[in-house]
């Protein structure tokens, strides 16, 4: 074989050289390795255990204006169904509205005054069940189960009624905030949060790593800039970018999907700014830890995964087990989703936004503290 023909051959020695080099580099890159192993495990856990499309135990506010035995048995039937979990009792209409608007409860059950008497007279009185239908997936199964639940309740209660007989009262279901159960109404506001999480974290996750990788870090550290100045300097410009993204999604939401904006726009914008800042700070923290830009990207992805799955964006938050909800509560997206859905669909104003957005402030403060602690003023 001449050297000439050898040029076109696959050389095992050369191939081996590449393979050996790649193996060494792969072994040094611990984070990639961790991701290769970690992602399947995390995905499996989240999808397998956390996600539940048949959410039960949904918080329910009850307003009992007539404390007769039939009203009681209806309530206990609701509870026994597993779907409804009475968490608070209202004494007025206003309380019900407030609990629903804040998103504190999923359902409100009202047993009207004179229910018992009307029932005895065979007047078919009405029990009112109001659902926060902004997320149709969260309430769908519970509502579907209602008539079966009621019939069974009466069978259980009065053995003389045959199971086939219709209950001697009516159930009026009001799907509030999204009466037609349009999924876009729920998804599109949520997308604002998802898009911001995805882009804002990545933007700042690169911030310090890029300085380090390009060697400009040494110069920056030698100059009299304080860590907080560096951090704010890195965070302020992308806030404008985020605001533009929000504007685009809001306009598209209105133009393409007819998603309403029933609440206070200024209140929403304040929450948006908070949320953007929280994500930028998370990204900045990653960038103080990551050794290179690839690692920064990987960390952002690692953060994005639970944000999507555990925040209530893709799957109803209340359907998840407690441990998953606890993780969810630590994610900025979870709180932002409550705010944005509240404002756009449930007509929230400043008061309700503040009630749902304060955890964002806590997250922001904690993350900023961590970032500044991680930021090193030396090259050690």
């Amino acid at each position: 074989m001449s050297a000439h023909t050898g040029r076109f051959r696959l050389s095992l020695a050369r191939l081996w050289a590449m393979v050996v080099k790649e193996f060494i580099q792969m072994r040094r890159d611990r984070l990639t390795f961790a991701l290769l192993v970690g992602i399947p495990i995390i995905q499996l856990t989240l999808f397998g255990f956390a996600i539940n499309n048949d959410p039960k135990g949904l918080p329910t506010i009850v307003h009992v204006a007539d404390a007769g035995p039939h009203g009681r048995s209806v309530l206990s039937a609701l509870r026994n169904s597993g779907y409804f979990r009475p968490t608070e009792e209202a004494v007025s209409r206003a309380e019900i509205d407030r609990a629903l608007e804040l998103g504190r409860v999923q359902f409100a059950v009202t047993i009207p005054a004179g229910f018992e008497r009307a029932l005895r007279r065979g007047e078919h009185p009405q029990i009112l069940i109001e659902a926060d239908a902004s997320d149709p997936a969260a309430t769908g199964n519970a509502i579907a189960a209602l008539s079966r639940v009621m019939t069974n309740a009466l069978v259980h209660d009065r053995g003389d009624v045959t199971p086939a007989a219709p209950p001697p009262f009516d159930i009026a279901v009001h799907r509030r905030f999204n009466p037609e159960g349009i999924t876009q109404y729920n998804i599109v506001p949520g997308l604002i949060g998802v898009i911001l999480t995805m882009t804002m974290v990545i933007v700042t996750a690169m911030a310090m790593t890029r300085e380090r990788e390009r060697g400009t870090m040494e110069n920056l550290l030698a100059m009299p800039v304080r860590p907080i100045e560096v951090m704010l300097g890195k965070i302020v410009p992308p806030i404008g970018m985020g605001a533009i993204q929000v504007a685009v999604v809001l306009l598209a939401a209105r133009a393409l999907f007819d998603v309403p904006m029933t609440g206070s726009f200024p209140a929403l914008m304040i929450a948006v700014m908070l949320f953007i800042a929280a994500n930028l700070c998370v990204g900045f923290t990653f960038s103080t830890v990551a050794r290179n830009q690839l690692q920064a990207m990987q960390m952002s992805f690692f953060f994005f995964l639970p944000s999507i799955l555990l925040s209530g964006f893709m799957f109803p938050f209340r359907g998840m087990p407690v441990w998953a909800q606890t993780i969810g509560e630590c994610l900025p997206l979870t709180h932002f989703l409550r705010v944005v859905r509240g404002v756009m669909l449930r007509g929230n104003g400043f008061g309700e936004v503040a009630a749902n957005a304060w955890p964002l402030v806590v997250i922001l403060v904690v993350v900023t503290f961590v970032a500044l602690r991680r930021y090193k003023r030396t090259l050690d």
Binding site: E218, M223, D380
Partner: protein
């Protein structure tokens, strides 16, 4: 006030992975003095400079820089020091002008525009101000970096191989400027591998394995090495060099074209060896010469047993 010390640190020590990269180094530089840092690759020059400006925290050592405690008052030191890194560390995706403006803002300089303008002018880069710094040639990057780090009129300049890759004319201009600045009272600590630059320093220090082996004016360092040097002008310099290698008294042999430099610490033994070699033939004439700084440094390097890569 010329006796005032701009840098006065003692016992500076820094280790990486259990290895002392800077080992008990003391640095004293008077105000307005130009101090040269020399030493082989990996001897700890960059690390020492980083320790002085607070970029690394020393494991041991103490002292002051411009009257401020090096361990505790890093902030105050940073404001008054101009540090030029060995590797270009300005923003390659900013233009020359934008880089200068950034530095001017960070140091909160008054008359920002005026300063940037004057700096561009002095550099002769006025018409290329909108060029991205990353597209400058290596030498021009160095010149930009120097200009940027003297813009805030620091009282102390720390220059880490500032002229690596710079052409001779620019190098000379650069040193003229350094001397001018020093005359106005700026203190300069500069690391270099060039002997001609070492000779332009008021004082030099020689580092190897993180230890300071010698320090003083060029003459003091050369004299302190106690070296005797002879030169031989012969066409067979390379062959003669091989013949002399390892003979008694011969510590260093280096051909420079047809001229052979032979040095040794034991002058008498060296002279005897040369006489014997000339007698063996082929004969040659040897004349006593003044050892150069380079001779001294190479000897110092050879004496140092092992060096970290």
């Amino acid at each position: 006030m010329n006796g005032e010390l701009a840098i006065d640190v003692t016992g500076l020590t820094k280790s990486f992975g259990g290895r002392n990269v800077v080992d008990d180094v003391s640095v004293r530089v008077r105000r307005g003095e130009i101090m040269g840092f020399l030493g082989p690759n990996g001897s700890g020059k960059t690390t020492t400079i980083r320790l002085l400006c607070g970029l690394l925290v020393p494991d041991a050592g103490e002292g002051t820089c411009l009257g401020h405690d090096v361990l505790r008052e890093g902030e105050a030191i940073r404001r008054q020091v101009g540090y030029m890194t060995q590797k270009f560390s300005f923003y390659e995706d900013l233009t020359i002008e934008e880089n200068l403006a950034f530095v001017a803002r960070v140091f909160e300089l008054d008359d920002r525009r005026g300063r940037v303008e004057r700096t561009l002018e002095r550099l002769g880069l006025g018409n290329r101000r909108r060029q991205l710094a990353g597209t400058l040639s290596g030498g021009w990057k160095q010149r930009l970096a120097l200009a940027a780090c003297i813009m805030h009129e620091p009282r102390l300049l720390l220059l880490d191989e500032p002229t690596a890759g710079v052409d001779p004319k620019a190098r000379r201009d650069f040193w003229d400027e350094i001397h001018e600045l020093a005359e106005d009272g700026m203190t300069v600590l500069v690391s270099t591998h060039y002997m001609d630059e070492a000779e332009r320093c008021h004082r030099i220090a020689y580092l190897a394995y993180g230890q300071k082996l010698t320090e003083g004016t060029v003459d003091e360092v050369v004299a302190g090495a106690g070296l005797s040097t002879f030169t031989v002008d012969t066409p067979g310099a390379a062959a003669l060099s091989r013949r002399l290698q390892g003979r008694p008294g011969v510590d260093l042999v280096a051909p420079f074209g047809n001229v052979l430099h032979i040095s040794g610490r034991d002058g008498a033994a060296l002279r005897a060896t040369l006489a014997a070699a000339a007698a063996e033939g082929p004969a040659f004439d040897f004349i006593a010469d003044r050892p150069t700084l380079e001779d001294v440094f190479i000897l110092l390097m050879n004496q140092s047993t092992d060096n970290f890569a």
